[in-house]
Amino acid sequence: MITYILRRLGAGLVLVFIVTAITFFLVHAAGVPVANNLAGPQATAEQIAAINAKLGLDRPVLEQYVTWISGFFTGDLGRSYFSSEPVVDAMASRLPVTLSVVVFAMIITLVISVVLGVAAAARRGPLDVVIQTIATISNVFPGIILGIVLVFIFAITLRLVPAVGYTPPTESVPKWLASIVLPAVVLSIGGIASLSAQIRGSMIDELGKDYIRTLRSRGVSERSILLRHALRNASGPAFTTFSLLFISLFGAALFVEKIFALPGYGTFGFTATVQGDLPIMLGLTLFAVCLVVVVNLLVDLVSGWLNPKARVS
């Protein structure tokens, strides 16, 4: 078991190496004039050369990458070209915002999808229409439009929640919730569409199986049939979908944070990518790779545990 986890993490390390290298060399090849951006339009050639020397941009590209990757192994991801803030600190300070929104969105997605999916599988009829409508809405309206519409209705017209900005939970929990509820709702709609359809489908498959009829023949209650037996067996595929959603929400969160002016990875990454702040961009890439490696590993471990056949053997 431990060797398995170590092997997977080792493969993850190789992935970190590949993906960051691709990002590094591609961005370098694009030739963003970082020093010019920093020094401003009136800068002299000497000033620019001095900045390049200070940031190490005058050294060969390969050497720069080796410096970065060796820093990675010592936990040092360098400093932002523009703010000089250490990348690790900058990312750590913004993670709570993005994580708040994503986790809140995942909770909404999970609760609504399970309720809708199970109920639709058990009852069919009108609930199927609800699920299809959510799916169509999420497909038809791009996320930015949904976000704007919600901001307009709830923040600007009804003034129920602030339109923009973020309040940390350490300051005020109700204000924190108010500041992340709209972004989380926008994020969760696409997830609810795919997850509830997935749960409904697997539940219908499970409810049609022989063992369900046999359990019914022993007088087992309908509630136990649905929640204890069918949902339990349907949870494997649903869990995989859920984990994929979790990862993809980090990407979608970048957009939503921008709409709601939340100081998370969205605004941060956006500024960095426009300025050509490579250390920050590599930091974000690294975060994405680690997220993928860790979540995929957890999915495999949990799926194995969910399935008794895989668990025992």
């Binding site: 990002t23 999420s138 038809v140 309206f141 791009p142 022989d210 979908t241 970048l254 994405a288």
Partner: protein
């Protein structure tokens, strides 16, 4: 923000047959939503192509006079934005940006996904394993993060951004194509093509690509709308050249102006939603058209599954009999695809006396299992059940509430299924699921003791180990013993066994029949034995009901039926027993006396 994995659920669910496709386009045109989407999409495309002909301003031209100009200003029909640019002009010129984005995103995804999907699915083995690994990884990546990070590489060109995004959309197409190819590869006509000496490339492009093109066309809609939405999102964030007008950048500009002029948001949002909406709805309509015309029928709600009395019942029929189970004129009907109904059981009457073993015999499709399930109340919801009399242990099952029926199933009547392995929940231990059925009448500890005793009684040597085992850890014969233990655990008065030995090895079959006989003797249960095997009937039953095409064609004592079958059909069934030796002529053993064979397993 749609994700790539939605594709699978949307498209893979469809079972597509190529012949249906001929009429698909015509059906699409008959669907109001489909034709509406098609007209909207065509109108938007035409508007986009003819944008320069409208005589509007250059989309990037700004004039101080037109800053936030109201709707209807001369030369600025939809007004001006906060930079004094013509909103109508920007709107018209944005259309092509969105269309090109959709085309590039979907195109890249389709080309990459299809090429690798065909190769991996057709060649299989290592090629398949490696490509599937790569695409699975690609699929889990948060595409938007990398699109954002790689923004400098694009030099601000939205076209290159869409190429990158298209690569991240490819896994959805890849999985779709690969899975379909794997399914098609072993089809006979592909084998035939291979035998006929066609090259792999030709088989792939001619035969296999033909089959997968339907789902690919459907997925184009989702891919394109996804790409359009992402391009809009990126432009909304301000990524991309400011010179290129697009719905996203217009929405972004207007959003910054939302407190002053919220109406400026309406136009780009509306057109963007109309565009993605018509693409998606057109895709949906095409999918529905391919699925064929029978889809709406499935939605119909049918009569509740409860048995109910229908028509006047004769005095003879209502007279309560001494029977444990009494069935008169049972009918089971199912709705058909054409909207009509079909009776799969049509007027069956039978009785089971306490302690009597009755065989219900017939070939596959004769309605015997449907008869059994309607007594148990376990037919699927779309089945309709009617009878003049359907009573069990003196209680009528007609119109009984689901709760009451559940109580009867937990105590009075029990069921042994045909296929042992699929009838155990794979996620719970054997003990766990057997105990659950008993909890309504006893404590957990008591239930566990009862189950352990029963496991031993049904001939399991190591009850504690089997109790703690998962279904996949025990053999089929063992699983059938477990199911028998589960059925008799509540001491039912009537046991309904549905072909309890058919799925088992021949040697195990005899042991299971012995076990059933001895349990029947010990508990004095009535048994309704559903089978197609007259050998089993001869071995176990007192009386027999022969069914054919949903009707009971002959009823009588086993010996009479064997020696003087009155129906030709029964004669054929009896004749189907090859081994005449299995026909027993000695009387059944006296109740309470276990047979010699049963002592050990």
């Amino acid at each position: 923000m749609s994700t790539t994995n939605e594709l699978d659920t949307v498209v893979l669910a469809e079972d597509l047959d190529s012949p249906k496709r001929a009429g698909a386009f015509r059906r699409l045109l008959r669907n109001p939503l489909g034709i509406g989407a098609l007209i909207t999409l065509t109108a938007i495309i035409v508007l986009g192509q003819s944008a320069p002909l409208f005589g509007v301003h250059e989309p990037a031209f700004s004039s101080l006079d037109a800053v936030n100009a109201p709707i209807g200003t001369p030369e600025y029909l939809l007004g001006g934005d906060q930079y004094g640019r013509d909103i109508l002009a920007r709107l018209l010129f944005s259309i092509n940006v969105s269309l090109i984005s959709g085309a590039i995103g979907a195109g890249v995804s389709i080309v990459i996904g299809t090429v690798f999907g065909l190769i991996a699915g057709y060649i299989g083995r290592t090629t398949d394993a490696v490509t599937s690994w790569v695409f699975n990884l690609l699929m889990t990546f948060p595409a938007l993060v990398l699109v954002l990070v790689l923004y400098p590489v694009t030099g601000g060109s939205y076209q290159i951004m869409m190429v990158i995004f298209g690569i991240f959309l490819a896994p959805g197409t890849y999985r779709l194509v690969r899975n379909m190819v794997v399914g098609v590869r072993s089809e006979l006509y592909v084998d035939a093509a291979r035998v006929a000496g066609l090259s792999n490339r030709r088989i792939l492009s001619r035969h296999i690509l033909f089959v997968v093109r339907g789902p690919i066309i459907i997925s184009v809609a989702f891919l394109a709308s996804s790409a359009i939405g992402i391009q809009a999102g990126l432009a909304f964030l301000g990524l991309g050249s400011t010179l290129v007008p697009s719905f996203g950048s217009m929405t972004g500009d207007a959003f910054a102006n939302i407190y002053l002029h919220p109406e400026q948001l309406v136009w780009p949002s509306l057109l963007l939603a109309l565009l993605t909406g018509s693409v998606i709805l057109l895709g949906n309509a095409y999918r529905d058209a391919l699925a064929g015309p029978q889809t709406p029928v499935r939605r119909k709600r049918t009569a509740p599954p409860l048995a109910r009395r229908e028509g006047a019942s004769s005095a003879e029929a209502t007279t309560p009999t001494a029977a444990l189970l009494s069935v008169r004129n049972l009918r089971v009907r199912y709705p058909q695809a054409d909207g009509g109904e079909k009776y799969v059981v049509d007027g069956v009457s039978l009785d089971v006396a306490p302690g009597e073993v009755v065989g219900l015999v017939g070939e596959s499709g004769s309605g015997k299992t449907q008869t059994a399930f309607s007594i148990l109340g376990l037919l699927p919801p779309e089945a309709g059940v009617e009878a003049d009399v359907l009573s069990l242990a003196g209680e009528s099952l007609l119109g009984v509430s689901p709760k009451e029926m559940r109580r009867l199933r937990g105590g009075v009547v029990a069921y042994i299924p045909q296929e042992p392995m699929s009838n155990l929940d794979p996620s719970y231990t054997v003990g766990n699921q057997l105990v659950e059925g008993l909890l309504s009448s006893m404590s957990r500890r008591e239930a566990k003791r009862t189950v352990l005793e029963l496991l031993e009684r049904v001939g399991i040597r190591d009850p504690d180990r089997v109790f703690a085992s998962y279904p996949h850890q025990i053999s089929g014969g063992m699983a059938q013993r477990v199911l028998i233990a589960g059925a008799v655990a509540s001491r039912p008065k009537l046991l309904i066994a549905d072909e309890p030995t058919t799925a088992l090895d021949v040697t195990v079959q005899a042991e299971i029949l012995d076990l059933l006989r001895s349990l029947q003797n010990e508990f004095g249960m009535g048994v309704l034995m559903v089978t197609h095997n007259f050998g089993v009937v001869a071995d176990l039953c007192d009386r027999v009901v022969v069914m054919r095409d949903g009707r009971a064609v002959e009823t009588g004592a086993v010996r009479d039926i064997f020696h003087h079958p009155s129906e030709e059909y029964t004669r054929e069934l009896v004749g189907a027993i090859l081994d005449e030796e299995t026909v027993r002529t000695d009387p059944a053993p006296a109740p309470g006396a276990p047979s010699a064979k049963e002592a050990t397993r």
